[in-house]
Symmetry: D2
Subunit: 255 residues, 4 copies
């Protein structure tokens, strides 16, 4: 039976500031990428999010970022490979401690925002991140953009790697994401997005923005959980996957 994971960014509240509807979206997703305090999250938020994920059977993942709370980790920033590696060790170590504290394993690690995008193309950065994950959580799965440099880097250091796809993003014919700044980059219509993502999972194919058929490995689908419309969208994806005979399970059961 075909299986896929649904992952969502979470634990992105900070102090008095609330962001994300974890109590809702955790009913539908199977893996949670939890902020580690560098772009969002703080130790209180991390503890609560990890607990909620455990309660609802959602796989616990670390979501390391550039150190950029004010910019929510979305600003490009130049780090040396040694800095990138050590920043990952720090954040993954911290999040893993919260998981282990309640008897849970760290299931996976996925980069956040600008570092995720940069590492998809930058071989040295991807390698540094992979080494950081390997150092801090060799048992964890690295969750990376399908077909990206991050996938190769994770394999090169000996990590289990899962590939993720996006329901709401257009793809180039080389399998990379169309930049958000380009027209047509975002796919807002669920009637188009949902069958498209189901096809990625069941057939391993997606139609590029220029019309070509592109092969893609969809171990996990990235979904959002920060507004009520997003929750509805996730619920519909699950429904469509079920109808297509796809089982939705945590990442650890796939890779």
């Amino acid at each position: 039976m075909v299986r896929v994971d649904l992952n969502t960014d979470s634990g992105e509240s900070f102090g008095v500031y609330k962001l994300g509807l974890e109590a809702e979206v955790f009913k539908y997703v199977t893996s949670a990428n939890i902020a580690c305090g560098f772009h969002a999250g703080d130790p209180m938020v991390m503890a609560k999010t990890v607990e909620l994920a455990a309660e609802l059977g959602v796989g616990i993942g670390a979501h390391p970022s550039y150190p950029d709370l004010q910019g929510f980790g979305r600003r490009n920033m130049s780090l040396t490979p040694a800095e990138a590696k050590n920043f990952v060790i720090y954040q993954v170590g911290a999040l893993k401690a919260f998981a282990n504290a309640i008897g849970q394993p760290l299931q996976h690690v996925k980069g956040h925002g600008a570092i995720y995008n940069a590492a998809a193309k930058d071989v040295a950065l991807a390698r540094a991140i992979a080494e950081g994950v390997k150092a801090a959580a060799p048992e964890a799965i690295l969750l990376a953009l399908a077909g990206s440099e991050m996938v190769s880097a994770g394999r090169a250091v000996g990590l289990k790697v899962a590939q993720e796809v996006f329901a709401d993003r257009a793809y180039n014919k080389d399998g990379t994401l169309v930049l958000r700044s380009q027209p047509g980059a975002m796919i807002h219509d669920p009637e188009i997005a949902i069958p498209r993502v189901v096809r990625m999972v069941t057939e391993g194919k997606v139609t590029a923005i220029t019309g070509e058929e592109v092969e893609i490995q969809a171990d996990s689908i990235c979904v959002h959980g920060d507004n009520p419309e997003a929750i509805v969208f996730v619920a519909r994806i699950r429904e469509a996957l079920a109808k297509a005979g796809v089982e939705v399970v945590p990442l650890r059961e796939i890779v």
Copy 2:
């Protein structure tokens, strides 16, 4: 044979800022309390300090603090017990990841500065810290002020606890430290300080500032390593301990 550990605060550089003479003081101490980024230290400094400690056979410890980089963790700050616990989990988890990354265990945890002092007297805070250590590193030794609430709290949650004494501080007759703001609080003369600390180790006794004999458990002696005079002082303590037949060993061999 009587044995004691020598511990020192370390890894307190930050970015371009250098603090501490680890390459020197690590020749003489057996345990290092390594800053975790909240009062000092950053992931680069943590990685380097952990490596150096491992190389020189110094026991690796986490040195969590209040979140107060500007005040070097010396400002009093009110945290809820839940905050204190989670801040400890975060910092200990991060430091432990650097140790584990190079195949080293986390030997111990010791609070830094204002939180160390507050937890010596504040039962709820001590309990919260102990729970944080237990959650993030149940195998680690809690290093705490001899005779303090932190010692009791560590035992209450089931941690191994080591008690530390200070060579350069005066004691009250109840075994607490004389506040730095009081006259006579600091003992600057090595001719007085050294025999005094040797006696704490060999006889388990120290003379209070008011003249009484106080019983004290000296599992570890706290020394400084941030200036050349401090290094000389540490070397002299080791010499005096050797002469008194005391073996200096890492904390893990004592508790």
Copy 3:
């Protein structure tokens, strides 16, 4: 004619995080205490909030805090007087630059959260804050808890001082606020709170929680603007003040 100012905390968003309904509450208040980046706010938020206040004719004030983004400035923290003074200079200078950049004066300064509460009672801290305001904005009005040490300190350094009262808080017979942790500290019923605050303005009196009549100087009323109910409450206060013949004007027209 009796006149009073209505002030509200504002500019407390941070990065992607939104807090406060400035576009709504600025229709009703006459003075805005704008966060300066230490407990909330960032340069983007400061610029936007200052502009909105200017547009809607709301007096622009700086709202300095302890350096505590994670704790929203609500954690008690020990600072030296020199630190408190310099932290105030820094924050007031930064906010004033945004006001001056669009041709607006800085109308007032009001402490935030824990430092506001501490300075109401701590003479040395109050003095340090007053000196900081005097140094950075000698022309600005210091807005302080009615009858507090902050009022005396502001006058002692030669600042104009305005006294503020709270519609939703109970008072002790010495004019101090009943601590939030005490029963009866908060007055939630608008039917009680509104006539009570009108009386403070028109008669200069309030009934203490223990029944005594207390004299109080009400130059400004502190109101909230972070949720829809608060906005309704502010509108009702304005209505009640109008009915009582009280004119609501910015602080600079009162002191």
Copy 4:
């Protein structure tokens, strides 16, 4: 008579961390670029550095940076123009408040590290910074890399602009600095560097790394003050300038 300013980065200590020998270098320079808390410095350090500069007659300047304490403002970072402008307003406003608090004007503003380098070439960033300076301190001089985009941007918004040269850096034939990563970028030999910088001041010319003569406007020479050798170097530059009949004066007397 030919005149030139000597400027140095300063106020780069932070909390317990000491950096810079202001008490020494301020004897030789005429303008100080003082860190504003984003890459270094804190309110205590800012207050002390401003006071020392005033005491020794050194022109007080703000030294704004990217928000990057851990990376000392040396990491490249992508900001929107609005962010860059507002970050400059914030920092310049804060530093200006410390100057004004002791009756001193803000003489100038100079970008720090990565933002300085980026703004030399990036027209939009240069414009945003210039607008920030104009907004926060329209009376201040913008100190910028000779011949750079920052110079044009400063003039375009109506600021007074001063151009700075480096004694220890090689130049390309288009007047830009040779990147530090290139061989020959740094000129370490004082016997070469000093006559070279004197010539820039007296003749307005420098020999490019490829041999061409390049015209350059030297209103100010950037020197270092963070180690004893640097102090000796600055003293020698002053001596050589005096011998060449050049008067060393604060920037405000030049532009």
